[in-house]
């Protein structure tokens, strides 16, 4: 029951973001757009801001970091952080 509730909540969130996924789920090489306000100042400074295009370049071994290209630079972020970044594959509708 609790599990279902969680699932429903998750879907509700996705729906709100217009079928967005998290960066952790994105596939290698496909450009995506960040769809929400990232709050972490360091991430923001690295270019993780709403509307920016981001492409995954490599996935680390042993559950290692995700290396993405953003604003013409490479940034590596761990998967837990990547889970908190919502993206859209075909651009944001907002």
């Amino acid at each position: 029951m609790v599990w279902m509730f969680k699932k429903l909540k998750g879907e509700h969130k996705r729906d709100h973001l217009n079928q967005g996924i998290t960066l952790e789920e994105a596939s290698l090489g496909t450009p995506c757009v960040i769809c929400h306000n990232v709050t972490d100042p360091l991430l923001k400074s690295f270019g993780f801001r709403e509307g920016k295009t981001i492409t995954i370049r490599a996935l680390g071994v042993c559950n290692g970091p995700i290396v993405c290209e953003i604003s013409g630079h490479c940034v590596a972020i761990d998967r837990k952080t990547a889970k908190k970044i919502n993206i859209m594959v075909n651009g944001c509708t907002k």
């Binding site: 306000n37 360091l42 400074s45 559950n63 290209e69 013409g72 590596a76």
Partner: protein, 601 residues
């Protein structure tokens, strides 16, 4: 009265150290990885006939104080800094200059990264809120131009209304203009507005304005996606990154050993053994009468014999070859790639991949390595890295001695010793990660471009590190050899050795003279190895000795560094653990090494 200060602020890896060195004429350490400057560095600078102190602030992306480096930057801006700084270069015995950081700085040089203009401008805007006169240096424009992009500097100045000097720090381009501009800037009152047009704006709005300015002055938008895969990209992918990593580290090892051996065999050994030492011994014999003093100088552990031979022909060659290799990896931008590649694996030891940098440095010397661990984000990570460096990573001096001790007798035992060190490193890391409380490491790092290292920068850095080795390594080593020589010649050594006899002869199955290196090893790591060269040991005894020396107490300088960086309890804990581990594994090798060596040979 203390001098007024000028701050040099910018994001990590933008070229601040190079600029600082130019402006102050000093030799501070600079490198192509994040976290080179953890302490801040201070140097004098003349501006318009008056002397100021220039402070190289640790690299910071924002002023949110999310880590230690950013906190230092914020404190310095408010004039409430503390005085933990280094003077010139990273070395454990820096001469301290007086600096008053409890005053608001007179001016700030903000180094903007031409390749990352948006966030540089955002940082500039945050700095300007402090109402201190500012000049901006737009550095690394050469790299931007290489990508076929450009920035309209006049338009930028027009928009942000402060002087902007385009520069290529490594070519010294634009740096003379900074000195000229500073003359007017230190006289100025603060502008009273920030670079984004003033007004109280939200952070979102600030980012928005920064993006707008950038798009107006840059020939190409920062968000343009690069399609071509470069060698730098390949290095961070598991394939072919991991084979490349093994190949590169293998080459580095071969280079360090090969070049080190060559330098020793063909240059340093003939120079010292055939020319310098005989000449000094001859002179000593002529002018000093027979007796204890002469024996201390030219006897078994004579200061003029072993005191020169060990530090300069055994260790120095490997110091040179190690630092050439390390500096090339450091300056090319390979280290951050290695860090990202190994991140997932290091996480299993509770560490972020970036701890590879202190680890690799540890193979040079533990002191700068432990200091470099400050760039790690948590206490837990620092403690694990420091413990592992103290326990299982031999410094270059010790490796040099081990290679010499074992290389000629059995290459196999040499490899076995290093393999045991790696095994213990990983095992101890996993154990520590379980038992030391603390959060799991998180990774958010930028990977700098892969750049061909610059010859003159490599030369300069290797030279600084060689100088550091002579001052902080070779000279203390000579002093200890001198003490050993006195203790040996007066018979005190024999007396102390008798206490250690049961441990050495029964548990470790070594000859009784082997207690000498164990005593000396407290002071310097390689001294646990070097005296064994002169003894007549069996292969298993060599193996035992090498393993003990590997895990035995880190040298006195490392213990002092741990006490300074943590506290005496941590230092004592690490001492006890290393001694116990050394004797435990040493005893095991002494018993089972025979089997092992026989099977393998």
């Amino acid at each position: 009265m203390s001098k007024q200060t000028i701050l040099l602020i910018g994001p990590p890896n933008v070229g601040k150290s190079v600029i600082f060195n130019y402006l102050t004429g000093k030799n501070s350490d600079c490198a192509n990885y994040v976290g080179t400057t953890v302490e801040y560095t201070v140097g004098d600078i003349m501006v318009g006939g008056q002397e100021y102190q220039l402070i190289d602030v640790p690299g910071t992306y924002t002023l949110e104080a999310t880590n230690e480096a950013e906190q230092i930057a914020v404190d310095l801006l408010y004039g409430r800094g503390s005085i933990s700084h280094s003077n010139g270069c990273h070395s454990k015995q820096q001469s301290k200059t007086e600096v008053n950081v409890a005053q608001v700085p007179k001016a700030i040089i903000v180094v903007l990264d031409a390749q990352n203009l948006e966030r540089s401008l955002f940082l500039l805007n945050q700095i300007q809120a402090h109402q201190i006169p500012v000049i901006a240096l737009l550095n690394r424009i050469d790299l931007l131009e290489k990508k076929g992009e450009s920035i309209d500097v006049n338009k930028l100045m027009d928009k942000i209304k402060i002087p902007v000097i385009p520069s290529v720090a490594v070519e010294k381009e634009g740096l003379e203009r900074v000195k000229e501009q500073l003359r007017t800037t230190v006289e100025q009152e603060p502008l009273g507005h920030d670079c984004l047009g003033g007004g109280k704006i939200t952070e979102e709005e600030a980012w928005h304005r920064v993006e707008k300015i950038t798009s107006e002055i840059k020939s190409k938008r920062e968000s343009s996606v690069q399609q071509k895969e470069t060698l730098g990209d390949k290095m961070i992918k598991p394939w072919p990154g991991i084979p490349l990593c093994l190949l590169i580290l293998g080459l580095v090892f071969a280079f360090v050993v090969g070049v080190g051996m060559g330098l020793r065999q063909y240059i340093l050994l003939p120079l010292f053994r055939e020319i310098l030492i005989p000449a000094l011994v001859f002179i000593a014999e002529q002018i000093i009468p027979e007796g204890l003093f002469l024996q201390v100088l030219i006897g078994e552990y004579g200061l003029l014999v072993k005191g020169l031979e060990w530090p300069f022909t055994l260790v120095f060659p490997y110091v040179i070859s190690f630092y050439i290799a390390f500096t090339i990896m450091e300056d090319s931008g390979y280290l951050p790639r290695l860090a990202v590649l190994l991140d997932g694996i290091f996480n299993k030891m509770g560490l972020p991949g970036s701890s590879i940098i202190p680890f690799l440095l540890g193979y040079g010397c533990g002191v700068p390595a432990i200091m470099a661990s400050r760039s790690l984000s948590s206490y837990k990570e620092r403690l694990i890295v420091t413990s592992l460096i103290s326990l299982a990573i031999p410094c270059v001096a010790q490796s040099g001695a081990l290679i010499f001790l074992l290389g000629e007798r059995s290459l196999f035992v040499l490899v076995a010793v290093f393999a045991i060190s790696l095994l213990v490193l990983v095992g101890a890391g996993m154990l520590l990660a379980k038992f030391i409380p603390g959060a799991f490491p998180s990774t958010i790092v930028e990977i700098p471009d892969l750049l061909p290292p610059k010859k003159d920068i490599i030369f300069r850095k290797v030279f600084i590190r060689m100088k550091e080795y002579i001052v902080d390594g070779a000279v203390p080593m000579m002093k200890i050899i001198a003490i050993a020589s006195v203790v040996y010649e007066t018979g005190v050594m024999n007396y102390i050795s008798s206490f250690m006899r049961p441990l050495v002869t029964q548990w470790l199955q070594l000859p009784v003279e082997a207690s000498t290196p164990l005593l000396l090893g407290v002071f310097r790591r390689e001294l646990t190895v070097v005296p064994m060269i002169e003894m007549d040991l069996t292969l298993v005894q060599l193996f035992t000795g090498a393993v003990i020396s590997l895990f035995y107490v880190p040298c006195i300088a490392i213990v002092a560094t741990i006490t300074r960086e943590f506290n005496w309890k941590v230092a004592l804990g690490i001492l006890v653990v290393t001694i116990l581990t050394a004797f435990l594994i040493g005893g095991i090798v002494a018993r089972f090494g025979n089997m092992f060596v026989n099977v393998m040979l």
